[in-house]
Symmetry: C2
Subunit: 388 residues, 2 copies
């Protein structure tokens, strides 16, 4: 049965990509696999906008986050975590487990990180080894100004590590230009591949820290990945089907063009925000990102909305996590989600809100979304009129 | 193009299993996923022959091995590693990275672990926390007497941890009856699923050690998996397509019956050994396991054999690892490999050996294999004769 997956990961997988997973398996220590691996990492470098290696891990995104902690730090090190939501807090959880001292420069969920606060804290604490933060915070729909944070951190001895798990591909992100020393992502968001792969890239400045890191590691030991990378291999058995699937998704992304994908996500985000406002709801995030749109809902009915959308229309959206449970809903519009999917999502949301007794006008969100789409298509529209 | 994958992981994936990977993705925090997860872990318990929980990790087998080290031990702890090959040595590598003291009770590659040596070492060192060993050592084709080792270790305070990655499913293995405290495996061997998943189960005695373990961990923190297990979830994004694929493979395994699979692997192993001997080659392993058959080859031509098999016949077999490179070849017969595949493998091996100038008689290995098959099918054969 057809369902509409508007959750921020896993995102829908195009059939061309999914089918690669079903093709006959082959061995990972072969020239056939090496050629695929080589192509995949080159394309990942294009997506990450980096000249450095991008390593592929057989792990979910959290595995890549842990890799970015345990390979750069030692017990007793001091770091800044600039968090604005659930996934930002994960940096703190991982670091504290490893005996690292965390100075929190965090903001309330829904707000964006204040770069000046990071700057101030770095000045006060010159021994700080690293700043860990989040690009697009999936739990709240906020985007942080990584470019500005990169300008600040790059002037110090500290390195900047960014969780770009949900943002990359969908929203402009530039590892090297923005002076990001380590960026991580995973397969099931903008990459449109099934969960099970994650990615990490490190700058030369970050590699200097690897040399002195004393946190124990084996599976996530980045030097192992580096040693195998030159052979176009991974140190442990590669997730062959997920990587062949990733090769196809990277081909589709390149064919469409990363800039065009950024523009498309920007339009979908703009339309989603217009839809939210047309329903009389409030946007939850202070600075909304372009891959997830979150809205506050009255009377903690969030879980009810999500449940009803799922049960009656097979529409899946995200809800509030942790303390936000019931209080917000989240629409994802990254990866293989198009204009029609967003319209379906909002039309069903309208019906569900009415069923739940919220006074809204039928079709109003859809109308607002249509308007955004029509405006963006003005040139095309002009052309159509002439042709008729 | 059709190829024959006789490598010890990844093994061939049945089409029914592979196709599950291509079906529409869905979210992992849903009742649909929970039902699949619940079914999968129940079937995994049946395979592991345990009443305890079996946890699923998004990681290759080494990730599960690391999980079995970092959750049970603390820096300064003393353990025994009983190794007989490349994968046994991995226990030592992981443990030493974590500041654990390793007493090696290892044997030369090709030999089997000596249970009495473990017993002696345990008696001499009553503070030993754990014994880490391997069931079927994939790099040499040896099987170890885990039942006997379990009898020995269970009489002490130490726990027994077994890498059953390649052996389980294909060869009789009984976690609880054999008093194994932690067993690990992964998806791409006997389970006939693509690489990317690994499994771990712990006894109550092992869980006692978890309470005091002080090695830092986050992604592989087993208590997180335990906490989500009761909700039929994993703590981090589940590799949805690999798990739905695993559900189908477990259904196929159960349909055939684990005991019948053990018998089938036993016959294939017997036939493979007969084939090796018929070619005048020597078996490499002292006590051969039933999932991989390894043979010594003259003049270090192993890599040449493997390359020629691959290039001329699209037959993939394993070679020697580490110091054994060039010296041995390895045929896998676990998972979705049948009698016909083994015959193809050996017929092509005959042709390759002749091409490489080795004096053997064409068809002799195949004849020896046919004889083993015919003998095992005596009853069926009798019936056929009567019917004709």
């Amino acid at each position: 049965m057809r369902h509409y997956l508007l959750t921020p990961g896993p995102t829908p997988i195009p059939l061309e990509v999914a089918f690669k997973e079903a093709l006959p398996i082959f061995h990972h220590r072969t020239s056939k696999f090496a050629a695929i691996y080589k192509n995949v990492v080159e394309e990942l470098k294009y997506i990450f906008k980096t000249k450095n290696d991008v390593y592929i891990l057989a792990a979910s995104g959290t595995g890549a986050m842990e890799t970015a902690v345990i390979n750069l730090l030692s017990p007793g090190d001091e770091i800044i975590v600039a968090s604005c939501g659930k996934f930002g807090e994960r940096w703190t959880d991982i670091a504290r487990r490893c005996g690292v001292n965390v100075i929190s420069v965090s903001v309330e969920w829904g707000k964006a990180i204040v770069p000046a606060a990071i700057e101030k804290t770095l000045k006060k604490n010159p021994d700080i080894k690293a700043v860990y933060t989040t690009f697009t915070e999936t739990s709240t729909g906020v985007v942080n100004d990584i470019k500005r944070i990169g300008e600040i951190v790059s002037k110090t001895n500290a390195v900047l590590i960014v969780d770009a798990i949900s943002g990359i591909v969908g929203q402009e992100f530039r590892t090297d230009d923005w002076k990001v020393d380590a960026a991580v992502s995973s397969s099931q968001k903008g990459f449109m591949v099934a969960p099970g792969l994650s990615f990490i890239t490190l700058s030369d400045k970050a590699w200097e820290l690897v040399k002195t890191s004393r946190i124990p590691k084996f599976y996530f030991d980045i030097t192992k990945y580096k040693n195998y990378y030159i052979k176009n291999e991974t140190p442990f058995t590669s997730p062959v089907t997920l990587i062949t699937s990733l090769q196809e998704s990277l081909r589709l992304i390149k064919k469409k063009g990363l800039t065009d994908i950024w523009e498309e996500c920007k339009l979908l985000a703009k339309a989603a925000r217009a839809g939210i406002k047309a329903l009389g709801l409030e946007l939850f995030s202070e600075i909304p990102c372009e891959v997830v749109t979150s809205a506050s809902v009255p009377g903690e009915i969030g879980e009810n909305i999500i449940k009803t959308l799922k049960e009656q229309y097979e529409v899946y959206i995200g809800g509030g996590q942790g303390a936000l449970k019931g209080k917000i809903i989240r629409f994802s519009h990254m990866g293989d989600i198009g204009k029609a999917d967003l319209i379906v999502g909002f039309a069903c949301l309208e019906m569900v809100l009415i069923k739940l007794g919220i006074k809204i006008e039928k079709g109003k969100a859809v109308a607002a979304i249509e308007e955004e789409f029509l405006n963006s298509e003005a040139n095309t529209l002009q052309k159509l009129k002439i042709e008729v």
